[in-house]
């Protein structure tokens, strides 16, 4: 008599069978994959005699896709190269790529899938701090291993994460020292997009300027992400006349910011500007003519002239086209698979605990940025480099620091 009743009769068993079928399929594939449990894999990871599966977790869609595409490409390049050279412990790397879709909960969901369903041996991924914060508890709970490529605010150190980008002090302190010395800068104007990385970076910068350099911060400001009106800001800069503008503006705001600086007559012949948020990637949108003569602080620039980098740039362009550009994070992404390979081989195992234990002290002499070494605190020793931006959008390195020890919890800067 009642349709709902018959609906239940007919729909229920079908739903059940469907899901049951899916489940058994999943289980079958899982078991066939995890058949091997030798010394190299005692924790049920997705490792067979000939393959090892890793995950890639970046945003391929959404607002962050712009930034994360480079990391995806660089990680792939490294993995392909490792596979071509015989893989890791005799196994070829297979990649499961997941899309975080610029959405933090999606990142968390996908991280869970990679770790719990796919049992990947390592994950290369995340870009924003927010996405890393979202997946971090999952990596810690499931004891996964994440290689995180972005320069970031520090204040974090997890057993389950290797940070291949710089933490804030590495990027900021040396560059501030340099600009203070080189330009005799005493007054600074700090500004950034409104989220944790710029805010934390500026806090560190302020402490350093006030306590170490004996300078003065004459302005500190944050604009909402995506803001495109910087007219009032340019006037404030003119009013305060700082020796240096220290900028950490990101995303679409970046383009508007530099275009409007130029339009307001704030150019490098009148104003020194140092940014910690402009890489080759951002430059594409901004256009070199808008930033000519400004300085950028990164650990890597595409124009670095050393054999490692020349080879890396050539290979990257061969794979992704001659117009592709390589920014700091892209290079850091490239380091991830290589660092992992070195640690796995040192440990003789894919087990996360063993790989983590083997990681500190791992050195990479073939890194495009030159030389890196994994610190006890899971960050990398690296150099800070300052480049002057040219009218054609390329970066000319004008200063290179010594290797800097990573210090994610800098005493006196918090």
């Amino acid at each position: 008599m009642d349709s709902r009743l018959t609906g239940a009769k007919h729909l229920l068993p079908r739903r059940l069978t469907l899901s049951a079928a899916a489940l058994s399929l999943m289980a079958a594939s899982v078991f066939s994959q995890f058949a091997v449990a030798d010394a190299a894999n005692t924790t049920g990871l997705a490792v067979t005699d000939t393959t090892v599966t890793v995950g890639q977790l970046h945003s391929a869609t959404g607002t962050m896709a712009i930034s994360e595409t480079g990391s995806i490409q660089a990680e792939r390049l490294a993995i392909d190269q490792i596979n071509a050279s015989g893989g890791i412990l005799g196994r070829q790397i297979e990649v499961i790529q997941e899309d975080g879709a610029s959405d933090w909960p999606t990142f968390a969901e996908k991280a869970k899938k990679l770790l719990e369903s796919d049992k990947v041996a390592a994950v290369f991924g995340c870009w924003t701090s927010a996405s890393r914060k979202a997946v971090l508890p999952i990596f810690e709970k499931d004891n996964g291993l994440l290689y995180y490529p972005t320069f970031y605010e520090g204040l974090e150190q997890s057993k389950n994460v290797i940070y291949t980008g710089q933490e804030a002090t590495q990027q900021i302190l040396a560059s501030l020292d340099w600009i203070a010395k080189e330009k005799g800068a005493k007054t600074f104007y700090l500004l950034g997009s409104d989220y944790i990385w710029p805010r934390t970076s500026m806090k560190i910068a302020r402490k350093h300027i006030e306590n170490v350099l004996g300078g003065k911060v004459v302005g500190e400001e944050y604009y909402p992400l995506g803001n495109t009106q910087f007219g009032s800001l340019t006037n404030k800069i003119k009013l305060k006349k700082p020796d240096v503008v220290f900028a950490a503006v990101v995303g679409g705001s970046n383009v508007a910011f530099y275009k409007q600086l130029k339009a307001a007559g704030i150019t490098s012949d009148k104003q020194t500007l140092l940014t910690i948020s402009v890489t080759e990637d951002e430059m594409l949108g901004i256009g070199g003519e808008n930033m000519k003569g400004f300085y950028s602080s990164m650990k890597y620039f595409q124009t670095l002239d050393n054999p490692n980098n020349n080879k890396f740039v050539a290979e990257f362009k061969a794979k992704y086209g001659k117009d592709s550009v390589i920014g700091d994070v892209t290079q850091a992404g490239y380091l991830g698979p290589w660092l992992w390979k070195a640690a796995v081989e040192k440990a003789g195992s894919f087990d996360v605990n063993k790989v983590v234990a083997a990681s500190p002290g791992i050195e990479l002499t073939t890194a495009p940025e030159g030389y890196v070494k994994v610190h006890e605190n899971h960050h990398l020793w690296s150099k800070a480099r300052i480049a002057e931006i040219q009218a054609d959008g390329t970066f000319t390195v004008v200063h290179e620091s010594e290797l800097i020890e990573p210090n994610p919890f800098p005493k006196g800067y918090q």
Binding site: S3, L23, W104, A108, L136
Partner: protein, 395 residues
């Protein structure tokens, strides 16, 4: 007793519809899905609270709020604040400069727990706040807008702007709120580890039960005189006003109710997913939740739940398999549903599903409608692209 049966379960037909849903989410999913997929369903079901609320205030009340994320977010934040305080005991935060406060506060040089956070040490206060804070905000917005007869698209745009403001505020006050990152790494609820598979299962059932409770409450409202008034208002607001009703108060009520539902969803989200971030407060998630309701059927409480599940599954599936296609699909789906199937899945079910079933299963038996409800019911006309103005058989 009879009365409750009619108003809560919607007679035999409604009761069976509800039973199917209950069996699906309480029995089938937990049995058929592994813990990973099940916790995904759990997450989707938290969005369903919002969609159910939207059926009440948009489908029946004609009030399209594009800011339901506000309430989902506030509910979630209230719960997350409590959980974060519990996760920030002095022992586990001893590496901080100020142990015992949430980690992001420490990063922002805050050395003392802010006033706003103090009461969230208490679980009972938190439970109260989860409901009260969003509902009170909805009340304020509702009074301000509806008493002054700001309606229709104006209301939609204003709620959207409020969602934008709240997002900027949360992001800007990162010492208080965790900023863009949100409040992360939530661990225990009164000492009970919410990250275990077993506790996740329990939370899933709590969530599902609460959702069914909200559907029941929604039905109670819709089958009451208030439900008829809502629809009457949507179609003939003047007539209702000049029949002696304070139209605004009904709109405020249903808007607050939808806000409270959303808030419960948000709190359950924080519990199940283990974090809360401003990305749930803004404009995009708010409109996505409208999609859920639209696809499921804006006039159907059960449809909203199915719509949420279906769209969310689709999102996960397509963004895994064809990330490029996903936005085309989502956008296209939305356009098609709004233009050609304004009553969504529920409408299709009424017009085609039933017929198909009857031919298939019952042969020549005729479908009857329960006699008591006949006064409210009428067949849904799906042929016209206009959203059907009739009250559904099973709201």
């Amino acid at each position: 007793m009879k009365n409750a049966y009619e108003s809560l379960l919607g007679g035999k037909q409604g009761a069976i519809g509800l039973l199917v849903l209950a069996v699906l989410i309480l029995v089938v999913f937990p049995l058929a899905l592994d813990s990973f997929r099940l916790s995904m369903v759990g997450k989707y079901l938290t969005y369903a609270f919002v969609a159910v609320g939207l059926v009440l205030c948009w489908g029946y009340g004609g009030i399209l709020s594009l800011g339901q994320g506000i309430f989902f977010g506030l509910g979630g934040y209230c719960m997350a604040m409590f959980l974060k305080l519990e996760a920030s005991d002095p022992e586990s935060t001893k590496i901080q400069s100020t142990p015992g406060i949430p980690d992001f506060m420490d990063w922002n040089q805050i050395t003392e727990l802010p006033m706003m956070w103090q009461p969230f040490h208490s679980f009972s206060f938190t439970l109260l706040a989860v409901l009260a804070v969003p509902t009170l905000l909805a009340l304020v917005i509702g009074i301000a807008m509806f008493k002054r007869r700001v309606g229709d698209v104006y209301f939609s745009i204003v709620t959207q702007a409020i969602a934008a403001i709240l997002t900027i505020l949360i992001i800007g006050q990162q010492g208080l709120t965790g900023g863009v990152n949100g409040i992360t790494d939530l661990r225990t609820l009164n000492g009970w580890d919410i990250r275990d598979d077993s506790s996740k299962l329990i939370l899933y059932f709590v969530n599902a039960a609460l959702l069914i409770g909200c559907v029941l409450l929604g039905r109670f409202v819709l089958t009451s005189k208030l439900g008829r008034l809502l629809m009457a208002m949507r179609d003939k607001e003047e007539r209702v006003r000049f029949s002696g009703y304070d139209v605004a108060s009904f709109k405020i009520f249903v808007f607050c109710l939808a806000a409270a539902f959303s808030a419960i969803g948000g709190a359950m989200f924080a519990l199940q997913v283990g974090f809360m971030s401003p990305s749930f407060v803004g404009i995009v998630p708010s409109i996505e939740m409208v999609i859920f309701a639209a696809v499921g059927g804006r006039m159907s409480l059960l449809g909203a739940v199915y719509g949420t599940l279906l769209v969310s599954f689709g999102k996960t599936y397509f963004s895994e398999s064809f990330p490029e296609l996903w936005l085309y699909l989502m956008g296209g789906l939305f356009i098609v549903v709004v233009m050609y199937f304004p009553n969504g899945l529920a409408g299709l079910w009424e017009s085609h599903g039933r017929k198909w079933l009857s031919r298939f299963a019952l042969g020549n038996k005729v479908f009857g409608q329960s006699v008591v409800k006949a006064r409210v019911m009428s067949p849904v006309k799906v042929a016209t692209p206009q959203p059907s103005r009739e009250l559904e058989t099973t709201p």
